[in-house]
Amino acid sequence: MEIFYGKAIFRGIAIGKILFNSKNKQQVRRTKIDDAEAEISRFEKAKEEASQELEVLYNKALKEVGESNAAIFEVHSMMLEDDDFNDAIIEKIKNQLVNAEYAVAKTGDGLADMFANMEDEYFRARAADMKDISERVISKLVGEDSSFQLKEPAIIVAKDLAPSETIQMDKSKLLAFVTELGSSSSHTAILARTMNLPALIGVKIDSGWNGKFAVVDGYNGKLVIEPDKDTLAKYKKIQQDDLEKRELLKELKGKETVTKGGKKIHLYANIGNPSDLSSVLENDAEGIGLFRSEFLYLDSDNFPTEEEQFNAYRKVAETMGSKKVIIRTLDIGADKQVGYFNLGHEDNPAMGYRAIRICLDQQDIFKTQLRALLRASAFGNISVMYPMIISVNEVMQIKEIVKNVMEELETEGIDFNKNIEQGIMIETPAAVIISDELAKEADFFSIGTNDLTQYTLAADRQNAKLENIIDTHHPAVLRSIKTVIENAHKAGIWAGICGELGADTSLTETFLSYGIDELSVSPTFVLPVRKVVRDTD
């Protein structure tokens, strides 16, 4: 087993036999000709054939990889018609009395060099296009069929691949590409992504690999030649998981999260960092039900400034567009090591000076975050949520502070959403019991089942000894959830779950029967939950 490294172009796994494609670059010899006119006619004829071939390729690409990727062939056609290209070739034939093959090769190389020396990567990649066109015309002149046919499924290994080569191959037999040259903006890379083919570039290739069994690991940029049993088994599993995920995606992406009976719920995702955004969108979440803001505080040596916070919240809001983004305010305690907070040691951090308690006690920290959140609310669909609530009094205090912050911003002439939705997390038994009162003061409830379970069962979820005691389906927890939802509805507000229990598909039907309005889960659980909802009566 040998491993080689390269740059991954598309994240996926391919397993199969290698087929080494050595470019049959036409060996062009310079010969002297006598009849320039005849030679020019030869050239024109070959050019015409190449042009027609490009049209066929364009249509094939259009069908297989869509318009924007097929466009490259249109570009080739245009380049083929370019005056400078044609004039230069004809000039050479006339003035130097050389054969058309040579004239085309020299002209093509010259133009390719011009592109290769340009500053911009995009233009440098066009050098390959120029070579492709020249090769095509030359192969017509020589009368050879330069197309490369695949007889069985294979991983294509080559020094470089021209887009036309990739399009010409039988798509059903293409497993992956591995090339030595090329860039991530080259057409081959673009095609690989479009065709969902694992691909690697920048791998030092060896013609001796031809026929060998290999794995292309597009996740880690690895080419594994003749993998051993364990490695192969590992990759086969990843491939299987990938396949299942993709099937699910195809089936459920863009579909509504609605039961057969027509009950619709909002299905959102939980994230802890803006870098998770792509996962949110990939997995087709309808919004963000919990955006943990702690990363701003944890990743820093000092309190994040209003500007820093504002930029982060704004970015998320803008990326999500009209989709809801529920941002939870600071939820930190002594159990998280954040030195500059000076929280000191606590015997019982889970029940200590944390979250909203810190915010109400040190209001400048709270105000800074609120200012940033409100400012960002002008750029998208932001809602705010307060953690660890145990009393109506807390909520009233919060609302007073928010009111002051809003007045401040108004005086400063800063834009924000005056009607921003403000919800509270129900994660304490106290909040559950007085949820009827709390519902009158909040715009929504989001149930934090992890902490709720721990506090309700009086069992530390981090304690391994208690694993058998902590029953996440405990009737006390389920009844709490049911009560909270009922009380929310009585007051006319919506209720959702952002804790891990939301992703427990064995409980989805139960939650639906309680009247849950929203579930917010880890991005990878979005589609599985949607599937269960859609399969429920």
Binding site: V75, D83, M118, Y122, F123, R126
Partner: protein, 85 residues
């Protein structure tokens, strides 16, 4: 001669595809259309030459149109740029 300036807004600048379409447009009018950018110039009907200018987003170009249909042609060219680049 009629000329106008234009600032490129396309992310990739004057790349192959619009350059090709530009060449077609330029060939369709009888006036001669010249693109001036970054201290260099190129005949708009010559795809490779235009690409060779390496015009990027944010670059300002000057388009010079000279010929018997120059006013009409210049208007067409300006429309083209606004729509494609």
């Amino acid at each position: 001669m009629v000329n106008f300036n234009y600032v490129i807004t396309d992310e990739i600048g004057i790349h192959a595809r619009p350059a090709g379409l530009l060449a077609k447009e330029a060939k369709a009018v009888s006036s001669r259309v010249v693109i001036k950018a970054n201290g260099k110039e190129a005949d708009a009907s010559k795809l490779m030459a235009v690409m060779g200018l390496g015009v990027k987003k944010g670059n300002e170009i000057t388009v010079e149109v000279a010929g018997d249909d120059e006013t009409e042609a210049a208007a067409k060219m300006e429309e083209f740029f606004k729509a494609n680049l």
